[in-house]
Amino acid sequence: MSTRLQTGGRLIDRNARRGFTFNGRRLEGVAGDTLASALLANDQMLVGRSFKYHRPRGFVAAGAEEPNGLVNLGTGGRFEPNQRATTTELFDGLACASQNHWPSLDFDIGAVNGPLARFLPAGFYYKTFIQPRPFWKHVYEPFIRQSAGLGQVPAERDADRYEHFYAFVDVLVIGGGIAGLQAALAAGRAGARVLLIEQTAHWGGRAPVDGVTIDGHPAEAWIARALKALEGMENVTLRTRCMGAGVYDHGYALGYERVADHSPGDTRPRHRLWKIRAARIITATGAIERPLSFAGNDIPGVMLASAVRDYVANWAVSPGDRTVVVTNNDDAYRTALMLREAGLVVPAIIDARPTASGPLVRAAREAGIRVETGRGIARVKGAKRVTGVALCAQAGEGAVLEEIPCDAVAMSGGWSPVVHLWSHCGGKLTWDAGQAHFRPDPERAPTSHDGAPFVIAAGSANGYLLAGEALADGDAAGKSAVRSLGMAAKGGAVPKAEAEAEGPMTPVWMMPQGAGAELRMKMWLDYQNDVKVSDVQLAAREGYESVEHTKRYTTLGMATDQGKLSNINGLAVLSQSLGADIPQVGTTTFRPPYTPISFGAIAGEARGDTFQPLRRTPMHRWHEENGADWEPVGQWRRPYCYPRDGESREDAVGREVKNTRQNLGLLDASTLGKILVKGPDAGRFLDMLYTNMMSNLKPGKCRYGLMCNENGFLMDDGVVARIDEETFLCHTTSGGAEHIHAHMEDWLQCEWWDWRVYTANLTEQFAQIAVVGPHARDLLEKLGGMDVGAGALPFMAWSEGEIAGVRARVYRISFSGELSYEIAVPASQGLALWEKLVSAGEEFGLMPYGTEALHVMRAEKGFIMIGDETDGTVIPQDLGLHWAISKKKDDYIGKRAQQRAHMVDPERWQLVGLETLGGGVLPEGAYALAPDQNANGQRNTQGRVTSTYYSPTLERGIALGLVRRGPERMGEIIEFATLDGTTMSAKIVDPVFYDKDGEKQNV
């Protein structure tokens, strides 16, 4: 059983007890525990079920690479699935539950998958479940959905807050082991601005666990001194619990700081995302031990040898009473020696190498530990917990020589440098045959804007696994970083780290090397995604030669741990199956983040009201106080309608439309884009920008214009007013002001940069109010000021003056078909004028109206709306807007494109009105059906609805739509499909439903 030892534990405080629950059971740990060490101290080795076969799983590792120990952590607004118990610091009151099992962790019906495992090989999704077709929907998919998936989705809103932080440094050091500390010291002493981040809560990495001495003292003493020195430097910043998540272009890096995960609710932000710009980045990210591939290597109790050492040294937890060590290298002997020293039993060290003779091996033998060389594990015995191992010859096929009872197995297949951050931005790797791992190739480092390398790997992350080399390499990295930045590296003796020497390791990719199919099916590579040696071999037999394809076919390394343990083992198996060298097969791509980071951290402060800026018109508060039902329009909020007591939205819209047509309506049109275009060449420029002629517009007049992109497609429309000889004011759609302004600047700066034209986006400078309806003129005349009579201010003219004492520019334009004035006043005067209009308008029956009434009225008039009648594939000619396309101009943006064969095809869908036979309202976006089917067996279509409303004015449904050769087919009745499978009949009619001659707007 796993238990807490009576003595030791460098990271724990035995006197500070911490209560927590696991699957509702109350357990106790101590301060300094991780959730994993606390569970193990309570003999909770079984912590989850595997993804595919629901096999019982326990902890394999003690750090970020852990694939099995994932839990649902927390409750309510702090619930989060898939949290690694090995990197979760224990706190009082922590609540967690195991995942991926039903009905319970101990008894899982899904484990029936076990005996069926041979029917779920690599690629089973692709081959087993496709035929027969109906089975996918009714049998396979429900089964897979039931059994697949890790953890649960949080049900409540996240109770925590998150923040972003920006940092600019000369040298970013990622990893606070001895190499990283020394690199930071070297860079800091040279005067560089240094940020040193460490993903755990502790400095020093593995050195204190592995019994390293530095300058003759235990590593911990040197680490304390190094920290003190770093803390004394003003140019150095230190952060623990801060992981280097990713390295990106030009020295950009992300740090993921888990500020308050260990103290939830303490008012600090839970996570902080560091956005770091560094001239140089040192990746001192350490190395990860690899498992060995033997049958049953996933049974709870089988752990990495280094993890066993971590649990004993850091948290005084023994994973078992009797631990068999199995290895292909000397390092694992440290585990055996440590266990022995802690008073535990090590029945044997099983060493796959034919001979072993390093100092650590000698020490083990001298301590009386049985060492079996040339041996392997044929299979691990046990189901939910290791009960023993069967020994075999490593060179053989797995014939059992002896069975050794034990309750834990410590395995080591060698070490792989953590090269993720080196690789994120293009750093290349080289194969180190001596240590059987990929390490960074310094000749092919990631390069920055100036072509110089900007990432330097250091320590065991650079392939220097021995403490002495690692420390020296950290020093060299720090000095090399500052020198490359033109700073002088300060001298000083490099501290000397010492540990027992190690003899050479021997790569072992399968144990025993001649294992048959039965054993290979039980050798796990990827614990989290349940990928075995046999799966990768099958993929190779089926022709998957590329490691990237094999990964996707088998799902090797595609789980939340991204194959930190398994990838090298997997590609070694693949390369052996293919008869190729490992470096030839290569690795899959390393992508950020290094371990999963929270969505909260990515979002930072951008949530709720601060998700994006909200744009408010000057009259926003009035709308709010008068019951506006809001609609988002770009980043603006506009009133959709103003419902009165008990009114539905539909009723309110109907009332607003009728009142505007019969009496008087008021619309806040401030969101309309207003772009000033000025200069001697302004007219010439607008002639290129709009499809119609603008240069011959007279000052004092307005003209409706269409703007296309160079593809010919309609992108915006609006009224242009000529202010004076050199000045135009271009109105754009509400959402369009910014991108139309950018469009103008693009052409002015990049194509016609010699034209003397200047643009300014004045959208927010003006409040604009539309006074609309038969009494519009009466109201303005009542308020007094400028002459707004038909003679002084005819339709499509504008003039300047005062309305109710406010300086105003008044445009006689109409988007509703009624007598209409759009009054622009300085934004600061908008609310005052609005309120004057409202109170003076009472006697005329004035009511404000919202965007929906605006839409209904424009549709009744057959006016197009950008985004409804257009979708980026529609040209003005499709919309019957030929009258707004100049025939006289040689050129305008989009003209050449509109001459292409497809654009002049008479078969194009063109704008018409649609009148349903029963008076009903057509569904939005409904397609007009045509006879027969296309090659894919889908019904042919001949048009679609682009706008559809109930018209309160006409008291029936009206719609606009694009129909093949539509304008030639007036009076024809066509069928539209609805979502419930029925059809609706509609007659093709003129798109103008109301006041076709425009008598009402032109009074």
Partner: protein, 109 residues
């Protein structure tokens, strides 16, 4: 997350301040051009692994357009210059040649 120097306002701008504008130095074809010319202007783009010329706008800065000469494979930036330039200036071309002898882009070399 590139950093590009804005030749108008002198700021070394983060990519978040910039808006990309695609390939630089396109020649516009309008009415009167052949179908082939227009197709090429509208759709045909270089897709080099290596030296490339791109338009960028300092959209959340001074608002000006400029052109960046950079390597698409290593992210090295050889230089930036104002968009009001018909062809890559000699000093930019020299800077590229110094780093990438034998480079070619469209009909430039």
């Amino acid at each position: 997350m590139l950093i590009l120097h804005c030749p108008h306002c002198g700021v070394d701008a983060e990519e978040t301040e910039l808006a990309p504008g695609g390939e630089a130095h396109l020649k516009r074809f309008g009415p009167g051009s052949s179908d082939a010319e227009f197709e090429s202007y509208l759709f045909h783009r270089e897709n080099p692994r290596g030296v490339h010329f791109e338009r960028w706008r300092h959209a959340f800065g001074c608002g000006k357009w400029f052109i960046a000469a950079r390597a698409t494979d290593t992210l090295e930036v050889f230089g930036t210059y104002r968009a009001q330039t018909a062809a890559p200036p000699q000093d930019i071309r020299d800077a590229i040649t110094a780093k990438r002898p034998g480079w070619a882009w469209r009909d430039l070399a």
